[in-house]
Symmetry: D2
Subunit: 490 residues, 4 copies
């Protein structure tokens, strides 16, 4: 059952630096720029001058975890890794916050992980049968137990052998007294980049925005199947497997990554703007103004406006302060929650035909509230343009997409969705349109993108998740019309 | 000197409701939408069924102060007032957080205040000489001591007599067991509106956005010199003085208020967009793209883009997570702080002539960092358009504008400023342009706006602040060219 | 009704020092030794080198309020007063924690108070009618408002005039930029002593144990009706009234004060031991061993053992760790609570006739549980000796004795009490025996002791409490046999 | 060296119950009575009705860790184990707080441990080499990894095999879905008892005082080498080894255990009183009064007083409130710290020859301060009687005795000690006197006591500690005169 199997290590952010005069502070800055990738917890581990690893971690936002100057100052050392964690119900204990730190009598090892293993449960069963005791519920730990059990003399060799045994999506950072390692899965589901400071020291991070904030220049994207070793002699690229094929998560471009980041050479903001242009090209609706749902859909909205040739207006305002309602989540109060986050500008939308732009639809309730809000503010018509195809299938590689049964598009036709949402029309970007808009142009299925949430064509076998897989109830074939990609299992 | 006299009650937000089945919860929602007006502290006071007043307040954001459901649930009652407070150094004690709650043996009174009194110090001196003991450093309390000392039998008469004795800018909410009062100063420096719930119950709030979030409809702007009494029989408008003249703070339109709010019939977002159009009209510069500083300048940027006829692009991204640096605020680290809040999108700005739009310049250092950031991201030219005139004079009516000596425009010419900031050109909106863009069109100097921070023409005598007033070092007459307004003392 | 009139300022501890190089730290040490006088809250105020007063206070034990080194370090200054506060339900707000600190534009004043005023409510009514606004529910503040309203030019004269207007029991410390004042009520209900450090600096404190802990030598007991002024020229004794008559609270000797303190020349431990001797002399019971209820009754138990000539044994052990039960306070769980605090040593009491010694009986339930516990541990007989007379009347001068209706001895005869408690016999010290045991030998009724809780003869008029006074239901005249003291109203 | 090898699991307290309708609450009560055995942290684990184990633990006192009713209420289940932990520098992380809880995919196991393993380091080395990953620094975990690696099918058989591999002192509680196990080391270094509730349910606890507080009757002391299994069918005694010899820690009787507890049939208070009698018998000094250092030495003091025939007086008072000084621990401030904890009663000791009684001397500084305090209060002479022999050797079985180099008696002769302490004479109990006073009378060396801290004769091989063992610098043979016991290695 997908539900029960669902493990941790959903979308997260990682950052590491080797040989820097302010390693913990630098990692703090880097993680801060990656905070959008995870808000449940954060942690930093540094290597001290005595070659031990020490760390500080906690639940909540980075600024809450590191809420006193001492919390950074005490992390004295020249190399560090850090992690921001995405929260999923049922795994909120401090023991699951990363980096995980393992103390052996003779040495320490720390791990930080972004992704989701598809064979974590079966691996854990085997390891427990062999005497392993786990301290967390997290996938991450499986790797450490594997390393500990490999016969090779060198750590790096044991690490490579272990990486070959785990399946799914992963971007791992591993800190030892000798080196900082970065490993990416054979499909490169998650982004991971190498950068360099002016001092010459190397950095590894989930997104390029983390390089910018610490003043590092971009060196290269880590490639599928690579193991990078950064140590006092520089950085070394190894290939722990050659059976690779790029399938970078398209949701990174659509929703998850920061607009100023570049992934495999494509700027995220520009990709979103192009998705907007493409959905408007495919659906040339009649509108007076374009309104994007702030903040995530503003890039796409500007593309829609350019394509339609109508003004891109600020018809929705986002409250920058976090909100809580405290009350039983009845439908009324969920709507109140949306009202506390977003508000319509009556003076902008009153009497207008609005082309409302959003990046995606998950359950559809928020869209419903926004449409209602715009109409209450006097909008004459609201046409909803979604700058990505309908989400119908779960992700098993690290994005916390709702179960099939909770995805609106997996249960209703586009017309049924439009009706529930209350929009005057509803339009999705086609899958070929998405691939074209991102424009990765890699020599791989879907130009190197994973689009399984839309098509159901997973790039790998599903291992432990195979049994629980649920198909969507709706077909909506037209959306997938141009999609001819075949699943590629490695 | 102005510094020492500087008292509390800078910009804040207030919200009150009478006879509502969920008064505390409603006030929480309303205050949340006013959080931008003050982040230092928050509080809510309710009238219980036993006609006593009880409250909860604390330092920090509303969601931190009310961090448990009980903190709202315990505030049982059908009427409430609340306050969010803007922080100023040296007055951060809990005793200054509002509403202030006064317990007498026989009854309770609560006060919440937005504004700044210009005769608070001299009034306090007189009151202390007469035996008054103050519990806070706040202006707010002066009113309570005055009320306590008036001879009239009725509370409302003592209140009116007291309001006539205080000078400056103020929007007061006062809760007693019998009524909710709202009072505005004779110039209406601060915004204050009345709204009505579907149930018929009345609300008073600093901005209309607070009406929207609780589902109330707008009834009217409170007018200068008015005292509104809301009780079980409805709402009653009284005039505690007839010597009034509207001078609503222009900074509310420029920077402070929320874009979806309307003040005296003018929508804030639309006013800002028009300021952008106007500054571009006055300064038709040559640019490839327009980039606004998020979030406050995005409205103005869209106006600039429309006027110049070039695309409005997302060249700067704002990190939605709060940041702290923990380190001595050297210049290097202040710049790091800006980098953690804002980042440039290289793919957007590289090789472009950028028209950068900001709402105002205070010290100028942030502008300098942003220009540097855009150039580092490859911008060919950066032309800075400020959608308001140069800030040269302090505000004494409730906005925490820096002292004259810290205002960049009070100390340097526009050319000197441009040079320090590193922009290729620097342009301000003219004062007449500002007045025209807002378009209040009231029959009063400056069409009903207070523009003293730009012109030095204060609408009232300065009372306690007179002695410490400092003139700016620069004249920059061209900016004020069209300004012929005379100070109007009431 | 006594209940509603019941005000704050029950038993508390005060400490002050003038001109000391570590005033805050010294006050912390002093307050720590007075912690037994109040555990609800604590605070310290210091006079800075700039002649302003700053402070830190909070709810809970001293060590919780001052839980970081900075909390003491930040209180830089050479003079200080501090307070530990006894908690009473309904007044637990931070605003009631002392010292109360009053900021005027020109100077600051701080007050700390131990005692209870009997005319606080009527004074407050008058003051409020005259415009006074109170920040707390506390008696303490009445004095400040009185001072503020006196016509005299000098602070000290206004203070004296104010002290003459308040009634009841009080020991006040007042800190200004010029001096530290200590004032005692005309009956000296509460203890207050002056001490001197080796440096020559003076100290005022509730008990002599606070002098010992800071290394100060005892100088003198403050006498009824005295106002002591300590300033840079030394200490000065003034008499604000000559209508005085000592009536120091006998409960200080019986239960409240620390055994190592001396009050008016009588050591508390020695007085208790003598009470034990006296109750055994009056009641020469047959016992194998004497067992005191730890810790408060161990002094009395040793006196009983000496008088009876049987061993004083450790038959009850007190758990030094605080306990909570978390559960609805059913009778079963109150008994569990006692079991968590006290345990019987079976090896000591099994098969023995036990003379159990306690200092007093309030509700009687704890006595009942202890007797049951001893019998369960095998005691053959348990004879309960109380080293004070039966408590029948409330105290209005600062000790939080339960209302008449809750005092066991006010509702039942000695035989009824014995039966409920389950002891084999029950004996109280006679009132003359108590007076003799303490042995104050002052030329005043009851040798200078207040014994109103036993006799109902209050040394002063009751003012605001007069109306609500309740007489006990039982007479038990034999206990008061030797008592011929008359009430003395001043 | 001993220092580095020093591992965790010093003195602690454990409590477990099987099949009880309020298991968590009962365990809370039991642990509260064992709080004296460990104040660094506490935890409780319960078995839920679904046969999973859940727990709550934290740093600090029990009442701080379980500070809300929910913290107990959420631990729903009918069986539980709990632990209070003694703190040692360097191991204060939450990961070391017990019970340790291990989640496997199929079942859960929880462990609580009192004691110290002497081969923990070498066992851990072997286990790590075999792939084990430890989550704590604690000895406790070694057992779990051993269990996980045994070949037997049944858990109980794997447990027995594992117990045979660990050396040193240990009292383990182990909770699984099927049973509660209690295991004691082959020498029975630590106390452990079985009790029974009125309901028939069984309890295991470190001391009998924990049985009393929950209303359970004593069943039996767990014997060396026993494994007790408590399950739904009752309790079962197994012998995992027959090579046993009782050597119960004599420090339990001298200092550590609670006076109301019985250990192997000997009441702790009575044993201490007898130690007092014995040291006075061996040293019949001339004194006017006897004064015990509260609270730990009051039992011994009463024995001294009985033997000497002089009164046992309360010459020292203990402040019941915890104290902190916040300042660099200079000698002056350590002395201040003692003054905050203890004070002399001048009225008792002035002019007297005092026989001061303490249970032991570790570093000697506290004794020095107390003697000084008594003399400052006027004592004419102070003769110090220590109711145990000189502490010269470290403990490796679970008591945190300071390293040899920090033990006063390991570095100085008795006369040198007396001189440093400033006493008029100094006397220790002889080793034969100690053994006689406790009177265990078991057929084993030292009548079944471990007295290694006095004699250096360790009952077992020292394994990992062998290399770092340091001999004391002084011989003081007279003290050990009667000691002829030989080390007995099992």
């Amino acid at each position: 059952m997908a539900t029960e199997l669902k493990s941790l290590n959903e979308e997260c952010g990682v950052f590491g630096v080797w040989n820097d005069d302010q390693a913990a502070q630098r990692t703090y800055f880097g993680l801060h720029s990656l905070q959008h990738r995870g808000q449940e917890g954060a942690g930093i581990v540094v290597k001290t001058d005595e070659d031990r690893l020490i760390g500080h971690k906690g639940l909540g936002l980075l600024a809450d975890v590191f809420d006193r100057p001492e919390s950074i100052d005490e992390l004295q050392g020249r190399s560090a890794i850090g992690h921001v964690r995405y929260g999923t119900a049922g795994s909120r204990g401090i023991e699951n916050i990363q980096p995980l730190l393992f103390h052996y009598l003779k040495e320490d090892v720390a791990l930080a992980h972004n992704g989701n293993l598809t064979n974590a449960v079966s691996m854990r069963e085997k390891l427990e049968a062999d005497g392993a005791i786990f301290q967390s519920n997290s996938d991450t730990e499986v790797l450490m137990h594997l390393i500990q059990r490999q016969p090779q003399a060198q750590f790096v060799d044991r690490l490579k052998a272990s990486l070959r045994q785990i399946k799914g999506g992963f971007a791992y950072l591993i800190l030892t007294k000798d080196a900082l390692y970065a490993a990416l899965d054979p499909n490169g589901f998650r982004p991971l980049v190498v950068g360099q400071l002016e001092s010459g020291s190397y950095i590894v991070a989930s997104e390029t925005c983390a390089l910018d904030v610490v003043g590092a220049k971009f060196v290269r994207d880590v490639q599928p199947g690579e193991l990078i070793q950064i140590d006092d002699s520089g950085y070394h690229v190894m290939q722990y497997t050659t059976e690779t094929q790029l399938a970078i998560c398209s949701m990174e471009y659509i929703y998850f990554a920061r607009p100023d980041s570049d992934i495999y050479g494509v700027n995220v903001h520009m990709a979103r703007q192009e998705m907007g242009r493409q959905v408007a090209l495919e659906n040339p609706i009649d509108a007076d103004i374009v309104v994007g749902v702030p903040n995530s859909s503003l890039s796409a909205a500007s593309g829609v406006a350019q394509q339609l040739g109508v003004p891109d207006e600020m018809g929705l305002i986002k409250n920058q302060y976090s909100s809580r309602t405290f009350i039983q989540p009845t439908q009324e109060l969920r709507e109140q929650g949306v009202k506390m986050k977003l508000s319509a500008v009556r003076a902008v939308v009153a009497g207008k035909k609005v082309a409302l732009v959003d990046d995606s639809i998950v359950r559809g309730t928020t869209s419903q509230y926004i449409v209602r809000m715009l109409k209450a503010a006097g909008a004459k018509e609201v046409h909803l343009l979604i700058a990505s195809p309908p989400l119908k299938y779960p992700c098993f590689y690290g994005i916390d997409i709702e179960h099939t049964r909770e995805l609106m598009a997996a249960n209703y036709t586009v017309e049924e969705m439009r009706d529930q949402i209350g929009a005057d029309s509803l339009h999705f970007l086609s899958l070929p349109g998405l691939i074209k808009a991102i424009g990765l142009k890699q020599d791989a299925p879907n130009e190197g993108l994973c689009v399984a949430y839309f098509s159901g064509d997973y790039p790998t076998a599903l291992y432990d998740y195979e049994a629980g897989f649920e198909a969507p109830k709706t077909a909506d074939d037209h959306v997938l019309a141009a999609s001819a990609n075949q699943p590629t299992t490695i």
